[in-house]
Amino acid sequence: MNYSTVSVISNEPVVKNYGRIKLDASEIAATAKPGQFIMLKYWKGNVPYFMRPFSINSADRNAGTIEVLYKVVGVGTDLLRDLEAGAEVKILAPLGNWFEIKKHYKRAAVVGRGVGAAPMRYLAEELKRQGIDTYVYISASSPEYLFDQAYFEKAGCTFKQLTDDTKKVTSLFEEDLKSNKFDVAFTCGSNRLIRDLGRLMDIHDFEAYASMEEHMACGIGACKGCVITVYDEGKSEYVRVCREGPVFPIKRLVGDNV
């Protein structure tokens, strides 16, 4: 983990209030693992106050760049959109734990929705790089929000999409589970997806992990501000999303609450 100043290579709108920013950050690109995140500060003065956390959407070791896919939701992300190529950005990265890719995995599912799926591109690319049969299931309210489809396909993943909000993206996965053995499923902090995977993992016997989000002050475990409740054998405890997470076994997230 390192605190440094990097510069913006490009910052392009994707669709409506979404954008993708590329940073010149070779050290981070070389060490960051899928699922890790970064904290950024890119404005003068004390308002807004906190640095802003973002997932690593992709890291290119050769080019020495990382990309962030973002949605404009408030003052901080609004300022992010305004950044121009060449601008300097303070970055604390890479942070948190990551999606562990275990030796024995043969087939993996990657499940996500909207911008919550931002860290999934890097994960899927890495899964494929390690020769794992990777199925990607993404839902969105309409097709233009399937941001990373091209990347998933280019990486050689089996890509399945859903833009019909009456159905659940996990139902696509459930369908495939009937005929395929999955070793692991990865998702991002949507409670609905987590609950669904929590149910399916018991039936179909696969490991399941989710990446979580909470408001953060420090991003490095110092402030104890970003806790969520997790469960271990009936007992609950607080864990820091930035330090013990952001990736947690879904078992610990759902406890007995599936």
Partner: protein, 316 residues
């Protein structure tokens, strides 16, 4: 090492420079060591260790406010027994920096017991008594009650041979008086101040934003308020004051020194700029050098001449 003398001495606690983290803001060695060069600090300040184990408050625990933050973390702590059993203080021995332990409890007795358990610990250099943040038991801030404050400090004084730093709450009518009581009862220094009670409401959810309803406000928003308290306390006590509140750069530290502080703590500012404490240390040294001062002591209280009329309550 430095161009000027920026060392600070509080009894046996000797610091090469006047900058340390505020308790709870940059504490656990293993978490932060690889970001910040901890050995550049004047002292290391641990997050408050409670008398007993505590899990802390329910989330959300932090909220952003205009030019600052609120927290209701609630001192999650393994408790002093486990803390010592795990030999936690020893872990800092690899750094050549004095370690100050911040202690917390629900009652005067809790503090005394902790002092007793710490007595003679070779890895610690001083004790900061966090009397400004109980949140449990009676729900009373020990430093906001004259009698309790005096009793707690005095009892710890008898028990402890460590330099005792008393951390006061700013949420009082007369902080000056509390400062005097702490000094009379044996404090070797004062930390002024802890966070301000605050509230943020989520108007979409129509309820308080924080899981614990209210929280403590810190950051640049409260700097003028805490600076005022330091200024007033400096006129009332002779022991050193450690200024703490809203420091975001070396200029803020200089303001605290000129108001009367001998050292400073950096809290929330660390979250916004992980290199802040280093910048503050270098900035202080440069400022003194460039302005012809040889020692930090030359500016302590320089803006606080007894002549100036700051005795009254309010000026509107």
């Amino acid at each position: 090492m430095y161009k000027t003398d920026i060392s600070v001495k509080i009894k046996s606690l000797e610091m090469k420079n006047p900058v340390m983290p505020a308790s709870g803001a940059y504490d656990y060695f293993e978490d932060n060591a690889n970001v910040f060069p901890m050995n550049t600090l004047g002292a290391i300040m641990l997050k408050s260790i409670h008398r007993r184990e505590r899990f802390g408050n329910p989330p959300p625990r932090i909220a952003e406010i205009t030019a600052g933050m609120m927290n209701s973390v609630g001192i999650p702590s393994v408790g002093i027994d486990k803390f010592l059993a795990e030999n936690q203080p020893e872990k800092y021995a690899v750094l050549d920096v004095p370690v100050i332990i911040s202690i917390s409890g629900n009652s005067p007795e809790d503090y005394v017991e902790i002092c007793q358990m710490l007595e003679g610990n070779p890895y610690l250099a001083a004790i900061e008594m966090n009397l400004s943040c109980p949140n449990v038991g009676t729900g009373l801030q020990l430093s906001s009650d004259e009698v309790l404050l005096g009793r707690t400090v005095q009892a710890c004084r008898y028990m402890s041979s460590f330099p005792l730093i008393v951390k006061l709450s700013p949420n009082v009518t007369h902080l000056k008086k509390m400062a005097q009581i702490a000094e009379e009862c044996g404090a070797d220094a004062l930390t002024i101040a802890n966070t301000y009670m605050g509230l943020k409401i989520d108007i979409k959810k129509r309820k308080p934003w924080l899981g614990n309803t209210t929280g403590g406000v810190s950051g640049p928003a409260i700097k003028p308020l805490t600076l005022y308290h330091v200024f007033q306390a400096y006129r009332a006590v002779t022991i050193p004051i450690i200024g703490c509140g809203g420091i975001m750069g070396w200029e803020d530290a200089i303001e605290y020194f000129m108001a009367g502080a001998s050292a400073v703590q950096v809290g929330a500012g660390n979250f916004v700029n992980p290199m802040l404490m280093k910048e503050v240390i270098d900035g202080i040294d440069n400022y003194l050098d460039q302005n012809g001062f040889h020692s930090l002591k030359d500016i302590v209280g320089i803006a606080n001449q007894k002549g100036s009329s700051a005795e009254c309550g309010c000026n509107l």
